[in-house]
Amino acid sequence: MGYQQPVVNTSPEVSDEVRKTTCYMCACRCGINVHMKGGKVAYIEGNRDHPVNKGVLCAKGSSGIMQHNAPSRLRAPMRRVGPRGSGEFEEISWDEALEVAVAWLKPLREQAPEKLAFFTGRDQSQSFTGFWALQFGTPNYAAHGGFCSVNMAAGGIYTMGGSFWEFGQPDWDHTKLLMLFGVAEDHDSNPIKMGLGKIKARGARVIGVNPIRTGYNAVADDWVGITPGTDGLFILSLVHELLKAGRVDLDYLARFTNAPCLVNAAEGAEKGLLLRDDDGKPLVIDRATGRPAPFDRPGVRPDLGATLDRDGATHRTVFQLMVEKYLSPDYAPEAVADRCGVPAARIRAIAAELARVAFDEAFEIEREWTDFRGEKHARMIGRPVSFHAMRGISAHANGFQTCRALHTLQIVLGTVEVPGGFRFKPPYPKPVSAHPKPHAGVTPGQPLDGPHLGYVTGPDDLLLREDGSAARIDKAYTWENPMSAHGLMHMLISNAHAGDPYRIDTLFLYMANMSWNSSMNTRGVIDMLTDTDESGEYVIPRIIYSDAYSSEMVAYADLILPDTTYLERHDCISLLDRPICEADAAADSIRWPVVDPDRDVRPFQSVMIDLGARLGLPAFVNEDGSPKWKDYADYIVNHERKPGIGPLIGFRGKNGDKVGRGEPNPDQLDRYIENGGFFEAHIPPHAAYYKPWNAAYQDWAVALGLYDSPQPYIFDLYSEPLRRFQLAAEGHGDRQPPDHLRQRILDTMDPLATWYEPDQTGNEGYTITALTQRPMAMYHSWGSQNAWLRQLHGRNPLYVSSKIMREAGLKDGDWARVTSPHGSIIVPVMEMAALNDNTVWTWNAIGKRKGAWALTPDAPEATKGFLLNHIINELLPRRGDGLRWANSDPITGQAAWFDLKVRIEKAANPEERTECDPAFPPIKSPVGTGPKELRWKVGR
């Protein structure tokens, strides 16, 4: 008898239909194919045609079916009936919910619009939510960038008109050496994995700089287990080595940066600013003539090494100042090695390797291009070294300057916007001058006087009231943090509770878990949210919250506006906002309801449109007062920010044949759906590199509508806006900082990238840095405790270096007390060897509060999971001056999460312990808990 085996049906039907939309399991925004069976979601996979993920999909995206059907979904609008924090709600109708909201908000708009603070935890429809807040007239609007990674954004914009993250990416096709700083995971999560796979497949190498060797750092060929907060010092030591060896790209620096620009050396109010001609153009010495000339004059050959004697002062170039600063022995590898935790030999080796690959492996692409001075170049010169960085370097109080230092490094190597290096993604490059300035001009009953968030260029742009106090509730754009381009969401509740700078009436939050993992000082914030004044009223009188899920924040709101899941809504991932472009293409995309909600929930943006019309916000109503837009889909198609410019660039114009600029097309969303949910406009090959200086790119960007006229610029290795704040601190100008901030401004706002130690007030005796990371399977993921993902990461030990384990007498599974200057927690520990000796860390936001997310109260997330947030304060320890010093970068206000210092000891009575400390009482779940078993099969 022969071998017998069953017959298997190898060609079953996969689905009835595939609907192509955009993932929202994190901020990566991949294209997904949603396979439908009988009108239900059966399976989700990546869309192969999509510019972001090209078919692949991460664990989060692949678990979308669990998120979409999660038992934690909110079901209907709710009004609080018990005390705040009790979780006691009654379900109400949408009409009633919206009437309540209007009754609260309308009087505020008419009398004091700033008493509404509207903040969104998710910032992916920021151009829309910001527009709504602007129309309402409150200055108190921002998204979560201030507690996330504004240093990364602002450090890049102020230095080179763009950043890592979603502003740009390594040239994956050509790079031969990639250096990662502080990257556990990134918004660009799938593209980074795809890129790493690509470069590893061809044998290119990766250096990972991170105190923790997980994920990308685990696959890095070389790991630099740096001491947290010293990245800037390490980077400037690399710059020191490169300068000392003359291994810098002088031609690139002379042509494309302000390194050759002359710095005013004359004493007075202009000292340290760039010398300019009568047209305001920075001056260089032209090597062709030896004479001063504007930097951008056709034919000019800027001289990096010249000086200009004028009126008794010798003005030198930015490059000369850089050489003097960075050649200082303070930046020598031996001088920084101990502090950085990186041996000097390794620093020197990395510098040598960077130089070798950048210069000795340089290559050329035969592609003509013309620069902004009109000079034609026959080819493009590739320097195949690239860099990428994320929160690890930015979430320190020196993060802004550290990001600037990293950009300085890649600029002196000549690797930005060249083949093999770092490449911008449209709408970047975009210099500070092409961004708006911040606005806070309030007129009751009227819109704000301009966009909330922007880029300041000096003290005149600060948002201060006449008495010098902050115009915004979060104190963004004040002397405490002048360049706070994303606001300071982590100070919102603290300031509102303190009435500093003023009291507000209504806090309106969207997808922001401020009573849990999105706040520093979680217990303190809970107390602030529930605190009452002498009359028994809540200090923060009203809280409106919108979320799709039963998160910890729900219990602390008075009115709940339940959102849909991402598969039930329209969205646009817009070039007005944070698009999905690639270095070779502008791209945007949509979400659309692939299924209808089966609960009484509504898409958040459509609710805001309804609310805007009910409040009579000018841009939300027609002249007769009727609603201007039916819903968000209608807005996406028909809203024009400027004539012809709307949220989506594709299929514009009556016939849908216009790209970028064109009148609204009523069929636009259908065309996007036919096209797989996205649109791409490719950059012509001769415009694809050297974008800030490439005339062809500039013309392409204007045609697409990214700007209205070409905006070429040179990189600001030397930042005049920073210098202007120093000048004020030195006493120049009418707008003067308070005396207690003068020295800090002088110390931190160096116009050249610098390193300083973050404020260590109160840290005596706390020698261990405590960090968090998000696991790849949950990064930036809202409601990551879905049935499948929580089986991957359902608890989070504190990972402790072998050295600290030994010193503290700890072994795996022990309970340890972790104490910071602010407080202490008791948590389980696990040894990790691939970790900086003086560092501990844990996965962030695994810990959940009992009763939230439809989990049972004994879920490991609620018993063994914990947050470091409890021991991080939003304020630095008191120093007896009566002032509230934010735990933030003094330049941008970025929350300094990773400056946390702790000490560790074995916890007492471990045998009695079953849960982490602090343990909070359960909150009542508005949705109950999930089922006991899942046997999920749609197509049975």
Binding site: Y3, V8, S11, V14, Y43, I44, V56, L57, C58, A59, S62, S63, P71, S189, K193, M194, L196, G197, K200, T214, A218, V219, A220, D221, W223, G225, E241, K244, A245, G246, L250, D278, I285, A288, D303, G305, A306, T307, D311, Q320, V323, A345, R346, I350, A352, E353, A777, A787, W788, Q791, A833, A854, D858, T863, G930, E933, L934, R935, W936, V938
Partner: protein, 261 residues
């Protein structure tokens, strides 16, 4: 006791690149999604919102710390699923014939209608690659997505296992090890592909590519030659270096000026 085929026509399987796997678990969840909805019983989850959530997975990623003799500790992400062994003990131990190895492609499958859930196969598998589904009482294992790889309802390029299609880093490769020219055979040859626990005598089809050597930069990098220790020396070097830039030398580069521009 169930027989193995004497020889299979093809040897389909996976190459998993441990140098590239970042441990993101995309393959784990994509597998869960496809195989919950497709071949056989769904992969169930017990207590999915509770204290001890545990479900059936056909593929899991484990992470191991390794301490080399010199150099810092390393973290290796190690995805593991059925290796579709040529000498699969899970097949020969099966009392009902439910477990079998396909003669045409070497895929090891469980015929769920014949499976009595006795668990012998899971006990015999040295890799722990089989999981008994608690809800259905049948043994679940990697099918190499047999309902994808030949599926005429899928475009040709999608006829690969779900884990391979979804892997963002491209660390998973699918192909025929019986063909020495296949992508997987070439990768194994070029990168020193290894069997997992060869001493067990299971002759696994799947192969692992080992991590490349790490933390060697100090041995490999050249030394930078110093042109100047201090700014003064640097500026002298700079003058010479600038003269070599396109456009050639310049004369006196200290511009003295008293007039206003």
């Amino acid at each position: 006791m169930t027989q193995l085929p004497a020889k299979t026509e093809r040897k389909l399987g996976l190459v998993i690149d441990l140098d590239t796997c970042v441990g993101c678990h995309a393959c784990v969840i994509s597998c869960k999604g496809w195989n919950t909805e497709n071949y056989g019983a769904p992969l169930s989850d017990q207590d999915p919102s509770g204290a001890n959530p545990r479900g059936t997975f056909l593929n899991r990623v484990h992470s191991y710390e390794c301490q080399p003799d010199d150099g810092p500790a390393q973290l290796i992400h190690f995805p593991k699923s059925c290796l579709h062994c040529d000498d699969a003990p899970c097949v020969t131990v099966c009392p009902t014939g439910a477990s079998y190895k396909r003669v045409e492609d070497g895929i090891v499958l469980v015929n769920e209608s014949d499976c009595i859930g006795c668990g012998l196969c899971a006990w015999s598998c040295p890799y722990g690659a089989r999981e008994l589904d608690a809800a259905e009482g049948v043994m679940k294992k990697c099918t190499l997505c047999i309902d994808r790889i030949y599926n005429e309802n899928l475009p040709q390029e999608d006829r690969v296992p779900a884990c391979v299609r979804t892997c963002p880093a491209g660390a998973r490769h699918f192909g025929d090890f019986a063909d020495p020219e296949s992508n997987v055979s070439r990768l194994v040859a070029e990168r020193g592909g290894m069997d997992l626990m060869p001493e067990m005598g299971t002759a696994p089809v799947n192969k692992y590519l080992p991590p490349r050597p790490k933390d060697r930069i100090e041995d490999k990098a050249a030394t930078l030659e110093t042109v100047a220790e201090e700014p003064t020396g640097f500026f002298a070097w700079l003058d010479r270096a600038l003269d070599r830039l396109p456009g050639g030398p310049t004369g006196n580069r200290t511009q003295k000026e008293t007039e206003t521009l």
